[in-house]
């Protein structure tokens, strides 16, 4: 009964949080357990969308938008592209192998139990309303920080992209005499 009472008393925000969380975890589990890689991709996109919803709940609107653009828009399209391009068959023999799944669950579960226990034992930090800045997650704040304090790392990310770009081209491109795929 107590649980029921708790559920009844949930506020709108709490309702949203729990609903989106369930969606997130469902998407995550779907990603790793789907036999068909395309389904995995779609589940993952679902996870990303629900994460964006979390960001909105946390008042990080700009990140919510960027998350969808970068992850769902760019990264997942790349995944989908490769999956379809390589025409990977939906075979996942490893998932029928209970031992692998159980082993992974035990190891993952152990780490999980420790993390959860540690989190449960830590008192939740409270928001300090006096110092709270409503504009924390707004685009102006982030933009200003990015171009002042974080200018150097911001510029250096371009080095990373240069490596990734030339590297990907170098490794991925077709050489003379090779089949397309």
């Amino acid at each position: 009964m107590e649980t029921l009472e708790t559920i009844k008393n949930l506020t709108m925000t709490q309702w949203s949080f729990y609903a989106v969380s369930v969606l997130t975890l469902f998407g995550a589990l779907g990603t790793i357990l789907s036999k068909n890689p395309i389904h995995s991709v779609i589940y993952l996109i679902m996870t990303f969308f629900s994460l964006s919803a979390h960001y909105v709940l946390l008042n990080a609107q700009f990140l919510a938008a960027v998350n969808i653009v970068v992850y769902a828009g760019a990264i997942m399209v790349l995944f989908l592209f490769v999956v379809m391009f390589l025409n990977i068959k939906d075979e996942a023999p490893e998932l029928d192998n209970n031992k692998i799944v159980i082993g992974a669950s035990i190891v993952g579960g152990t780490i999980g139990v420790i993390l959860v226990a540690a989190i449960r034992l830590t008192e939740s930090q409270k928001i300090d309303p006096s110092t709270y800045q409503i504009k924390t997650g707004f685009i102006e704040t982030l933009g200003q920080l990015l171009y002042s304090k974080y200018l150097l790392p911001f510029e250096l990310v371009s080095v990373l992209f240069l490596i990734a770009m030339s590297g990907a081209v170098m490794l991925g491109r077709k050489e003379k005499g090779e089949r397309n795929f």
Binding site: L86, L115, Y132, I134, F161
Partner: protein
């Protein structure tokens, strides 16, 4: 609009921070489990993306509760790095597919000892 703004901390505070930390941790563990149980390189890569997203969620939650934008900046960098990593990773996978017509990593165990 202006008069609603002060209510924002209360709105966020309705969900304790530790719930987010818990959610992110579980997501992270699911990512680890995904890497562990799958043999398909692409799915493993996706599981790693899940782990990175768990970290992102964690950072955003901490950042919002502390009202400190630095955490959200870090998320940008993680996204950028993730994109670069995925590009390189997929290129490696494509390269391997050209050579062995498969991306099942259990076929790749010639280096051992």
């Amino acid at each position: 609009m202006e008069n609603q703004l002060p209510a924002m901390p209360d709105v966020i505070a309705q969900v304790p921070l530790n719930n987010y930390v818990l959610l992110a941790s579980i997501l992270f563990i699911i990512g680890i489990a995904g890497v562990l149980i799958r043999r398909n390189a692409i799915i493993m890569l996706m599981s790693i993306e899940l782990m990175l997203n768990a970290v992102n969620l964690l950072l955003v939650a901490f950042s919002s509760y502390r009202s400190d934008p630095n955490g959200q900046i870090f998320v940008f960098f993680i996204m950028a790095v993730a994109a670069a990593e995925v590009a390189v990773g997929l290129a490696i996978i494509v390269m391997i597919y050209r050579n062995i017509r498969s991306i099942d990593i259990s076929l790749l165990d010639k280096l051992r000892g």
